[in-house]
Amino acid sequence: MGVRLNLCNLTVEYGAFTALDGLHFSVKEGAFVALIGPNGAGKSTLLRCISRILQPTRGAIYLDDRDLHKLPLKQLSRLMAVVPQDTAVDFDFTVEEIVFMGRYPYLGRLQKETPRDREIVQEAMQTTGIAHLAQQPATSLSGGERQRVVIARALAQEPEILLLDEPTANLDINYQVDFLELARKLNREKGITIIAAIHDLNLAAQYFDDFILLSDKKILAAGKPEEVLTPENMNIAYRTPVVIGRSPLHGKLVITVLKHWHPDKKGTLNAGQRVHVIGGGEEAVPVLSLLREAGFQLSVGPVTREDSSHRFAAYHRLPVITLPPFSPISDEYYRQHLDLIREADFVVIPSIPFGCGNMRNLEAVEEAISSRTRVLILEEQPFSLRDYSKGKAGAVYERIKAKGALLLPDKETLLSALEAFSAG
C-alpha cells in the first residue's frame, strides 16, 4: 500500500489569522481516516484545502508525486470526490439526475451518456440503497436519503479518495450508523481511501482505523485509535477530562466525558458523613453516583482494578482498597477493609452478586456492624438470585440483617434513609 496523500508544511492564513499551521502528514492508499478535533481546530479548513476549494498559503499537498493544486480540475474530480456537510438541494432535480452529475468529469463536451455511464449510475444508486428513489425529486427526500444521493453522486465519480465533511452531523442515530457502515464497506470492498471529519468520537472510534487529531491549527496526534484517543490528548484538544475505556460489546475505545460535580445545598448538609459502599459489580456504580451527588463522603470496598466501581473511585479520588485480579481476599485486605468500614458512619451493601470470592466482604461487615456503624442494605433483587456461593454468603447476609441492618427496596429510599440518619 503506497502513500497517496502527502501534506507538507501545509499552512493556511486568512490575512493575519492562521487557520492551519504547518501540517505534516500522509495518508496511505486504502486508509480509513477520521479527522477529529474541537470546533475551530481547522478540520473543515483542512478538508477544504484537500478538496482544493482553498489554496494553501504555504506548503503543498501531494497526490502520489504530483502537486494536488496543480492537477487539472477534471482529472482531480475523477480521483477524488467530496461529500459536503450541507446536502440540501434547492432545485427539483430527480435523484437520478443528481447522481448522474457524478459522471460529468468523464463526459466530453456535447458527449451523450454511454450505457456504461448509466450502468455506473445505477450501481452507485444500488450501493447506497436509493435505486427505488431514482425518479423522485431530490427536494422531497429526508436528510438521510439526501445524503445517500450525494454519496451516490460521489461514487459515480469512481473516486479513489473520498472526503466526507461531518457526514453524520445532521443524521439521527440510525442513519449515522448506516452511513458509517456504508463508508466502511466502500473502504473495504472498493478500496476507496476515505478521510472523514467527524465530531462524534465514540462513533469514530467504533468505525475508523486511523485518526488525525487537530488541535489549535496543528496536528496533536495521528495514528491508531489507542495512540490518538488518550485522556491526555483529549484534555489538551477539548479541554475536558475524559475517561477512555473499552466497550464490552465491540472492544473499541469508548470515550466518556466526565461530569462536573456541583453538590447542591442539600448536599453540603451531608458533607460530614462518611459512607462506605461495598463494591464489585455494575450495580454499585449508580449507588456511588447517587450518594456522591448528595454530598456524602465515600469510600469503596475491596475491588479489582477492572471493576467499574474502582474506575469511579479512581476518578473521584475516593479511598478504595484495590485487590489483585483473580485472587481471593487475603487476611491483609480483609483487615484493611475492616478499618475502612470502621472509619465510616454508614455502610451500604448495594444489590451486587456475591460468591466465594467476595464473601469475605460480607463477613467484614458482619464483624463491624455496631450502633456506631450502621449498615444499610439495598435489595433491589432478592439475595438468593445473587448468591453464587451455594448459600454460604446468604447465611452471612441473614446474620447481618439479624444484627439490625436496615433493608431498603430502592435507591431513593436508601438516600432518604441516609439523609434522615445523618440529620440525626
Binding site: 478538496s51 480540475l73 477534471k74 467530496v82 459536503p84 450541507d86 432535480f93 463536451r109 427505488h132 422531497s140
Partner: protein, 366 residues
C-alpha cells in the same frame, strides 16, 4: 411557510410532467409549431388584415425568389409584410427569447427564484444610456442603429462591468455580493435616470416611453444588429448547460465535479448580460418575460438546463410575440407599450404561482 410533504406515489417524478426524453423532445417540437403559428397570426393582423397564405407566399417569394402567378400579390401587402410587420414580429421573438434565456441563466447562477434579467443593473444602465441619448439629442449612427440603442447597449454593459468590478474580491466573485452590488448600482443609476427625466422637458415622454418598453421602432437593421448577440449568448449558455446544472447545486459541488465554478460564473454573466443588453437596446425595458417564463418551464419539465434553455427561448418568443400583437391591436390605432401588457399579465400570474407554493416547490427546501 411549511410545505405539504408529498407522498411518493409512483416511480416517476410526480412533480414534473415532462420527465422522459421523448416527451421533452415532443414538447420542443410543439413549442416550435406554436411559435410558427403565432408568428403567422401576428403578421396577419393589424390595421390591415392580411390573408395567411398571402403572407406565406410573400415570405417564400422573398426568400427564394419564386413567383407564383396564380396569386396576385399587392405591392402594398408586400410592403406591409416585409417592411413593417415581419421585422417587428421577428424582433419581438428575438427579444422574448433573449430575455427568457437570460432570466433562466440568472436564476440558475444566483440560485434565486426572484432573479430576473435586470437583476444586476443592465436595465438601469441601459436606461441611463438611452435617456442621455434622447435628452441630449445625440446624433450617432452605426450599422443602421441610432444613438438611442447604441447608448442603451453601452450603458447596460457599463453597468454590468461596474457591478462586476465592485463585487470582485481578488480573483473571486461572490454571487451574494454580486446581487447586492447589483441592487445598489441599480438604485444609483435609476436615480440618475430620474434626474434626466426631470430635466428632459418636452422629451420627457420619449424617455418614459422608452423605459416602458416597446417594439414600435423595429426595423431590419435592429434584427441584423442584435441577432448575432442573441444567438451567440444563447449558444454559449446552452453549450455549457451541464455546468449551469452543476452550479445549481452550489459552487463547491460544481467544483468537486470538476467544473471551474469561478470561470463559468463569469462566462454565464457575460453571455446573459449580452443577451439582455441586446434586447434592451432595441426594445427598452420589458418586464416579467424573463422572470416568469423560466418558472413555467421548470414547472413542466424540471430544472435541467438542456431542456430549460431552448424551451424558455421558444416560450419567451411566443409570449412576447403574443403580447406585442395585443399591444398594437387592443386599442388600435393607438399602441400600448408592450411592457405594460407583460407586466399586467405577468404579475398576476406570478402571484398565482406564489399562492400555489407547491408549484414552485423546486426552489424550496423541505
Amino acid at each position: 411557510m411549511p410545505l405539504k410533504k408529498r407522498v411518493p406515489s409512483s416511480k416517476t417524478n410526480p412533480g414534473v410532467f415532462l420527465h422522459t426524453p421523448w416527451r421533452k423532445r415532443l414538447c420542443l417540437l410543439l413549442l416550435l409549431a406554436i411559435l410558427f403559428l403565432s408568428f403567422i397570426y401576428a403578421v396577419s393582423i393589424g390595421a390591415v388584415y392580411l390573408n395567411k397564405t398571402e403572407i406565406l407566399y410573400i415570405i417564400l417569394e422573398k426568400i427564394s425568389g419564386y413567383k407564383n402567378n396564380d396569386v396576385a400579390l399587392m405591392d402594398t401587402s408586400r410592403d406591409i409584410v416585409l417592411n413593417i410587420r415581419l421585422p417587428r414580429v421577428i424582433l419581438a421573438g428575438l427579444v422574448g427569447a433573449a430575455l427568457a434565456v437570460a432570466g433562466a441563466t440568472f436564476q440558475g447562477l444566483f440560485r434565486n427564484p426572484l432573479a430576473d434579467p435586470y437583476i444586476i443593473g443592465v436595465s438601469s444602465g441601459a436606461a441611463l444610456g438611452a435617456s442621455f441619448a434622447i435628452v441630449s439629442g445625440l446624433s450617432l449612427g452605426f450599422a443602421g442603429f441610432g444613438a438611442v440603442p447604441i447608448m442603451a447597449f453601452a450603458g447596460g454593459l457599463v453597468a454590468i462591468l461596474l457591478v462586476y468590478r465592485l463585487s470582485r474580491a481578488g480573483n473571486r466573485v461572490s454571487v451574494m455580493t454580486l446581487l447586492l452590488a447589483g441592487i445598489a448600482v441599480n438604485a444609483f443609476l435609476s436615480a440618475l435616470v430620474s434626474l434626466f427625466v426631470y430635466f428632459a422637458g418636452e422629451k420627457m415622454h420619449q424617455v418614459v416611453f422608452w423605459m416602458m418598453g416597446g417594439l414600435e421602432g423595429a426595423r431590419w437593421s435592429y434584427i441584423t444588429g442584435m441577432a448575432p448577440y442573441v444567438l451567440a449568448g444563447f449558444l454559449v449558455i446552452y453549450f455549457f448547460a451541464r455546468e449551469l446544472n452543476a452550479l445549481l447545486l452550489g459552487e463547491d459541488t460544481a467544483y468537486f465535479l470538476g467544473i471551474d465554478a469561478e470561470m463559468f460564473k463569469k462566462v454565464f454573466l457575460v453571455a446573459a448580460s449580452l443577451l439582455v443588453s441586446a434586447a434592451v437596446s432595441t426594445s427598452g425595458i420589458i418586464g416579467f418575460v424573463g422572470l416568469v417564463v423560466p418558472h413555467v418551464v421548470r414547472l413542466l419539465a424540471g430544472p435541467d438546463h438542456h431542456f430549460l434553455l431552448p424551451a424558455s427561448a421558444l416560450t419567451g418568443a411566443i409570449l412576447l410575440i403574443g403580447a406585442d400583437t395585443l399591444a398594437r391591436t387592443v386599442i388600435a390605432p393607438t399602441e400600448l407599450p408592450v411592457g405594460i401588457i407583460t407586466a399586467l399579465l405577468g404579475a398576476p400570474f406570478f402571484l398565482y404561482l406564489l399562492r400555489n407554493q407547491k408549484k414552485i416547490r423546486y426552489f424550496s427546501r423541505n
